[in-house]
């Protein structure tokens, strides 16, 4: 009996333990809960469609176009000598605590996508296309960083949180980063699907060429004017020229009208456009039209910008017999480069002289190039109706992202700079196939080469009396054409940086940057002695220091690093 009792007890314990184990196993499964309504990195990467879906995030982050509020790449980018913001804009005074531009989210995204796509079961060409897409956007992200901050840490892998030495590494030199950017772009160009193979209006080989043309022009001229490194300049300018040339051979044709790329509801049929951002009524809209068609004071074009447009004979206003002066806007617009006529309206509006239901411009000039076809003529009406698709924020014209005109300007400039550096001999054909196509479209006489870096029109050499003595006449005229072609398109500040010409924004050196139109006086505005609008009547100064060529690294980031690892930019 006693033995039985012990055995029974033993069995009970075994049973108890077994039940316990069973329960525990059941519970282990019980608390295993996979996410139901979200993918994870572990189960997402299983089809090309998923990769494509993931890649749209880059389009969201990096292709701003007309933006959605006041963040557009056009018109709102007024911190330069072309536009005068009604609120005086200054260079940053102090190192900010934080700066959203010091952001590596898209670089992480690109590195993640590269690593995941490589591990997928796709054919080699498909893999290379998507790796190319990721590298294209990595290049673009780094270009944005380098433009602003100079040296930045280069990442080609996704850091894990445990990798402190990788996360907190020092900045790499801008040269190293730009070399890596170039290699990303070359990979993309070699492996991206062609325009015909890729989905319509997505990143393809041509788009990568267009980005390369833009980035390498920046890197080349930066090296030339800010680093005095001619061999580096030549290398990048040649790469830019080569990429531009490939675009120019790819069958893109300038549209008939300068304004088309800026003011069309659908750019899909436009032969000039390489990539555009499509807007759709009620789905995705912007305000670029609205802000040039509203009672909010316009960031008007400056006297400096307006006077940079030549006359139809191809000559600067100080040389042209066709220039009728600027006593009124009809004289000002007479016989001028048609790009001016598309860019500013045929009336002045300013405080004390409101037009069209209350419109006013800081300088008197109303920007018009983003207004769709109904305007500017219709804009003379006296009222702006709320809810109108030409008002904030209901605009749905498409925004160009890469288009032929920019590439042509890049080409002309690269040729002229290479010629100046003795690395290439520019030909009349180079000019005819680039800026002269744009000048012809604008009804302006062709630019002709004259000897070494000289210029002529209709066989007569000329030099603009206002030419910057630091540059040759050819470079001056090509830069002028770039300025007017890409007026308010978001390029000007970057151009001044790479040319080392921020001084054009200094009112001591370029007073016209703070002046507007010559208008009839009234009590609400201040005119200077010659009768031009003074946008800033209290004469603020905007001295340009060497440090402004790079933005400061946010102090909040520096504080996170061990002492001295993340170095501040010079002068800040």
């Amino acid at each position: 009996m006693g033995v039985m009792k012990i055995i029974r007890k033993y069995i009970n314990i075994v049973l108890f333990c077994s039940v316990g184990m069973l329960l525990f196993n059941a519970c282990t499964k019980y608390v295993d809960k996979e996410p139901l309504d979200a993918f994870s990195d572990l189960d997402y990467w299983n089809s090309e469609d998923n990769v494509k879906t993931f890649a749209w995030g880059f389009y969201n982050d990096l292709i701003i176009g007309f933006g959605s509020g006041t963040n557009g790449n056009f018109y709102f980018t007024s911190f330069n000598d072309d536009q005068a913001d009604p609120t005086f804009q200054q260079f940053p005074k102090n190192v900010p605590a934080s700066d959203g531009n010091w952001s590596f989210g898209d670089i992480r995204k690109a590195n993640l996508m590269i690593s995941r796509v490589k591990g997928m079961d796709l054919d080699e060409a498909t893999k290379n296309h998507w790796v190319g897409i990721a590298r294209f956007f990595r290049a673009w992200s780094y270009f944005r960083l380098v433009k602003r901050f100079g040296d930045v840490p280069w990442y080609s892998q996704v850091p894990d949180i445990s990798q402190d030495s990788l996360i907190y590494k020092a900045r790499d030199s801008r040269d190293l980063v730009m070399d890596s950017v170039l290699s990303d772009l070359d990979f993309a160009i070699a492996h991206l699907r062609s325009k015909g193979e890729a989905d319509p209006n997505t990143v393809n080989k041509d788009v990568a060429l267009a980005l390369k043309s833009r980035i390498c022009l920046f890197a080349g001229t930066w090296a030339e004017y800010n680093q005095q490194d001619d061999s580096r300049a030549i290398r990048f300018l040649k790469e830019s020229k080569k990429a531009s040339d490939q675009i120019m051979q790819a069958g893109y044709i300038l549209s008939d009208n300068y304004k088309d790329v800026y003011s069309s509801y659908d750019l899909s049929g436009n032969t000039e456009v390489i990539l555009y951002k499509h807007y759709e009524e009620g789905v995705l809209t912007h305000s670029t039209v609205g802000y040039t068609n509203a009672t909010t004071e316009f960031k008007g074009l400056t006297k400096s910008a307006i006077e940079s447009y030549v006359c139809t004979d191809g000559l600067p206003i100080k040389l042209s017999s066709k220039y009728k002066g600027d006593d009124d806007i009809h004289d000002l617009r007479a016989n001028r480069d048609e790009r001016l006529l598309h860019t500013v309206d045929n009336f002045y509006c300013y405080l004390g002289h409101l037009r069209g239901g209350g419109m006013k411009s800081s300088t008197g000039f109303r920007p018009t190039k983003f207004l769709p076809d109904v305007t500017p003529a219709a804009s003379h009406g006296d009222t702006i109706e709320a809810g109108d698709t030409n008002t904030i924020p209901y605009n749905y014209t498409d925004a160009p992202v890469f288009w032929l005109a920019e590439t042509l300007e890049n080409y002309a400039e690269a040729c002229a700079e290479l010629d100046k550096l003795g690395a290439y001999k520019i030909t009349q054909n180079d000019v005819d196939e680039s800026v002269n196509l744009l000048r012809e479209r604008a009804n302006v006489a062709d630019l002709e080469l004259d000897g070494n870096q000289g210029t002529a029109v209709n066989g007569t050499p000329f030099v603009d009396p206002d030419k910057d003595p630091d540059v040759t006449s050819l470079i001056w005229e090509i830069r002028r054409d770039r300025r007017v072609e890409l007026m308010m398109d978001g390029f000007r500040l970057a151009d001044l940086l790479r040319w080392h010409k921020l001084e054009y924004m200094d009112p001591q050196k370029n007073p016209d940057a703070f002046l507007g139109a010559k208008v009839t006086p009234n009590d609400d505005i201040t005119l200077n002695g010659d009768g031009y609008i003074e946008v800033y009547p209290d004469h603020p100064d905007r001295p340009v220091g060497a440090k402004y060529y790079l933005w400061p690294i946010p102090s909040g980031q520096i504080a996170l690093y061990p002492d001295g690892v993340l170095k501040q930019n010079p002068g800040w």
Binding site: K33, W56, T87
Partner: protein, 509 residues
Amino acid sequence: MNAEDDEYINFYAERKDMLDPSKPELNLATGDQLVGSGHTHAAYAGFFGRINYGYKDKYLLELNGRYDGSSAYSPEKRWALFTSGSVGYRISSEPFMDFIKPLFTDLKLRASLGTIGNLNVGGQYFIPTMSSYSADWVVGGVTVNTFHNPIAVAKSLSWEKVNTLDFGLDFGLLKNYISGSFDWYQRTTKGMLSTNKVAATFGANAPRTNQGNMQDRGFEVEVQMNYPVNDDLKLFAILSFNNNKAVITKWNNQAEVIDDYYSGAVYGDIWGFETDGYFQSDDEVANSPSQSKLETGNFTYGPGDVKFKDLNGDGVIDGGTSTADDHGDLTVIGNTQPHYLYGFQFGGNWKGFDLYVFLQGVGKRDFWGLGDMVIPMYSGAQILYKHQLDYWTKDNRHAKYPRPYAGNSGGTIGGIDAGGNNFYPQSKYLMNLAYCRLKNLTIGYSLPDHIVDHLHLQNVRIYVSGQNLTEIDNVGVPLDPEITDGQLGYTGRTFPFQRNYSFGVQVTF
């Protein structure tokens, strides 16, 4: 053992442009139709055992052990053992304590020590989930769907454990007319789950990991009184009071930047400058420590602007490197956590009348508010609120607010809350959220029994009641001291605090 699982499914459908708002039906609307859904689940399970022992109701002992598993943790780290125990000693039952009997009816000492795991940490932070969003890119007439980067995860993620040590005392006084308790506790959270600051080069928000430990010490007192004066009059009162202070004892923040926790940081501390009045003249600006490092945009400090104290005496106002070792002229100016919380309830019954009063309050609490309501022209050239009209001019040199300047949201000093130019976080414009509120006042009258019986009812009571009737506070801006949130992070941009008045008749059949 116990086990619990939760599953949440939500689904919604909406259609815009109703034809008739009084008939809100999907098929009676004409506009765009939208649907959406969400589906999440979580589970935990635990095996536990408990031993209770009491000897003569004088010595009390309890021991607990639990083995818990939660879906919040990765399979490798999922299960953990937690133990706790408590002892009690009813000292009033000891013969040698008889001398207190005339006063104390009951006196008991308690102590407990134990650890539990945090089962619900708000998600599964070990899984690199990817959530979808709609990109600003149109294909085929609609914006395309895309996915965020997977959230960063840390392999080391493990249980957040809370260890509590408590010493308590329960007492009953004067035939238990008065009773109460006192507790002193120390709660140590080990392996707190949080995200730390990581350099932007990481490219993502830092993963949730066990960042460090926090030690929270405090006390709680509650005293209750119930006293029937006679058959007609009964009185009661409850007084409660507590306070605590939490200190970070360990944190993964080597640089000890002050916008994250660091070892020695007090939970809720607000960093900022000490305000030293206004600059009254250009001379004063020129002869004071330079504040030029604080200027943003077109702003330049001049007469009528805020002057800060040069706490480290180096002639320059700045935030050093915004670290615990080098914080320039920054200092701790307040704490966001409520301190000295109290409640006082009292009332009574007298011949059918009843009264209930509830006062509630916080003794000390500070807050740095953001937005145009608390900081004049915070986001830009906004209209001034009435309370902001008392600003500095040459004829109003001791105004509440400085010379107006539009655009004060961004500053140049890392590690502190938003605000710039004249409105860096600072002592002068700190919101004071201490208050005493009349939370509830109720007066009722129950009809006498003979009338109620006559009506064949059990009870009829008429009452008036009010909630949040009034308060004593000095917030500094016209906001309720309990409102700290708001849309876009703009303090106060939310529904106002409500006062409720009610009147009612209660009838029991």
